[in-house]
């Protein structure tokens, strides 16, 4: 196994050199060809996917997991749409982000270049194969994909289509490689390939992410949990606050950018919380409150110390009344996961302070936490949300799959 993975690494490195200088038209063409090929190959994709689904049913994987596995018409449509959107994004490679002149006349600048070779280790959804590869290609990288064993046949078919499209566009097929084995040792081998893989991106549950972070010898861009807060400030527009809180909690409670804890300024707690609680109950949200919350909300369960750092990913919400914004920020600093925090306020200075002081990957004023998503924020698409600070913090789009090199133009400058 080790030798095969090593060979994939070598091929990826070689492909990455060609991809780094591929022109924008070629990359766009490859992505468009991928979109048309998925359209044309829907039968063969469906057949491969059926094998996986039948296998999953035989293994009694459970409905949620099987649902994630199915490449339905809608899922295929979304992959195709995604490819088209990524194809139309501006090419980040070659952009000179800044340029300045030194006293000796040397012009110095920073130019965007691809990261090189990106490894993606993911779980059951086959769409990751297409979405992740598309972003890597757009940013001029080569990618090695290692998907979950449940989606094995689907992934191989999809990766095959992507490779064929690269070839048709005159780009190296090995810019997309899929690890064609369900052997777990292959993951470990891949994680040890620091000479050939510049960065590893795990996509999936916490166990997978911790496994990758522990064993990877190269840098890892990872996302742990999203314990997101909304703070409703004194003097907030309470109608707006109610809508934002409801959206943040119930629109898709199982996502990492859903609100998990609501913090309310004591000055508005009485006018805000009872009606808000009623609204939450109508949506099936179970509340767990601090003593002051419970005094205002009948039949509210008591929050324990375990509730404050909890990522429920479900229709459960912790609620706390705070004395002021400082206490809210202290709570966020202590229990939060630096993912997404929002303030609802009408006060300019507190909005300014909240944005400056809260060190999360997205800090919002008067908008739902659900916006922490590459597409929603305007990055075009995302390969994940980073909750660690190095290299990228927050949603990672094509730009986050690049780095910058320094460039310098002179006319004979020497160092004295």
């Amino acid at each position: 196994m080790r030798d095969e993975i090593l060979e994939m690494g070598r091929k990826a490195r070689a492909a990455s050199h060609l991809m780094a200088t591929a022109n924008s038209d070629q990359k766009r063409e490859a992505l468009e060809k991928m979109a048309s090929a998925l359209e044309l190959e829907r039968d063969s994709i469906g057949a491969a996917n059926l094998k996986d689904v039948e296998q999953a049913e035989r293994n009694e994987l459970g409905k949620a997991k099987i649902d994630r596995l199915i490449v339905s018409e809608r899922v295929l449509e979304e992959m195709i749409e995604g490819l088209k959107e990524v194809s139309m994004l501006p090419d980040p490679v070659g952009e000179i982000t800044r340029m300045w002149t030194r006293p000796n006349g040397l012009q110095v600048g920073k130019m965007r270049i691809p990261l090189g070779v990106i490894g993606i280790v993911y779980e059951s959804r086959p769409n990751v194969t297409v979405d992740a590869a598309a972003l890597c290609i757009k940013a001029g990288n080569a990618v090695i994909l290692r998907g979950g064993s449940e989606a094995f046949h689907s992934n191989i078919r999809l990766a095959g289509i992507l490779r064929e499209s690269l070839k048709q566009a005159g780009l190296p097929q090995d810019a997309v490689q899929f690890v064609e084995t369900t052997d777990r040792q292959a993951v470990l081998d891949l994680l040890g390939l620091e000479e050939y893989v510049d960065v590893m991106i795990p996509r999936g549950g916490e166990d997978l992410i911790r496994f990758v972070a522990k064993h990877a010898r190269m840098p890892v861009l990872k996302h742990y949990k999203g314990v997101c807060h909304v703070y409703v400030d004194s003097g907030a527009d309470l109608e707006m606050a109610q809508k934002i809180c409801l959206n943040a909690k119930v629109q898709r409670p199982a996502t990492c950018n859903a609100m998990e804890t609501l913090l309310v300024h004591e000055a508005v707690a009485e006018s805000f919380l009872p009606a808000m609680a009623e609204e939450f109950r109508r949506s099936g949200v179970e509340l767990r409150g601090c003593p002051r919350t419970r005094a205002l909300v009948p039949n509210c369960a008591a929050a324990t110390e375990e509730d404050w750092p909890a990522e429920y990913l479900d229709l459960v919400l912790a609620v706390r009344v705070v004395e002021n914004m400082d206490e809210a920020i202290l709570h966020i600093t202590r229990y939060g996961s630096q993912h997404t925090e929002a303030i609802v306020t009408e006060n300019f200075e507190r909005a300014r302070q909240f944005v400056r002081q809260v060190q999360s990957s997205l800090v919002l004023v008067n908008a739902s936490t659900r916006f922490n998503d590459g597409f929603q924020l305007g990055l075009g698409a995302e390969i994940g949300i980073s909750t660690s600070r190095l290299h990228a913090f927050g949603p990672m789009g094509v730009e986050e799959l690049t780095t910058t090199k320094f460039i310098a133009f002179g006319n004979g400058q020497l160092r004295g």
Copy 2:
């Protein structure tokens, strides 16, 4: 030991929260106070340094190592100057690097914030204590320093002065902490502190860097070797080429940005190499050439396959004649270390191609490789040169000790 290091981590994290929102004046004041305190405390610094130097002499450390240890008047002056320069740099924290508006009216931007807690593990030079701490403070971080045991007393004295100055400026002393033990286990403990240290920066020889990279559980910003190339193109201004090559090789041959291999286009080899070789010999440079070089340069030693990837850090140079720029770039890709590469050319299109195609941390046209240095490129100062691509590639100044978070300003936006 583990408990003490853990406690340092906790204190650093707490200090980092305060530092993140410290205003620019306070940080500037702290750095200015550090500069004056070093001035005032030159006797106590000298006394502490003397202990280290005497110890080193007793241990027969060798002249080079002892030289690096000595805090001479000049070294102290440079530390003071460095502090003053860093104090005057613009504050990177809070800068909004971009801002755009989404179709739903949500204004989205990226704001620069500190990385958090930075660990620095370094070897014998005591000036790193001051230089590294200054940059970390300027960028709003807390720093944990672990210097070499040879400079133990000097480092403790210097760190003490820095901490006192932070206090006087109203900033948390624990924004600078020094690991006050020479126990090697302390380094391992520090490298395991991923919960409290956001990034580790090793400064020193290759062994130290590999040790840190191997054991660190947090991301590492590292610099391996500099195998830097100058390519002299067909039609280059040969007088300029000669000056650049000489400067790149001999101005300070032991540095990572010194040229290690010279590549010469065959069209100019005959007119360029013999005179250049003569110039190198006058400067004491030993040449190791390819067969075509040896045909042009009398008494030139033969380069072997080991010479091409060699980082001599000495007055030794590998020389190769190439057919064209493509061959030069292939050579660089194969044997280089992605550190610094220069082309000497008068041709616009080849300059453009070289800059686009060579993926090193600094790519120069018509200037010496010796410019790959934070101060020379205008970053004000540097904490090291990164040769890996994640987060930072090339010299790292204050900006590279920050990251960006997303911010979003709305008026009630919900996700549909």
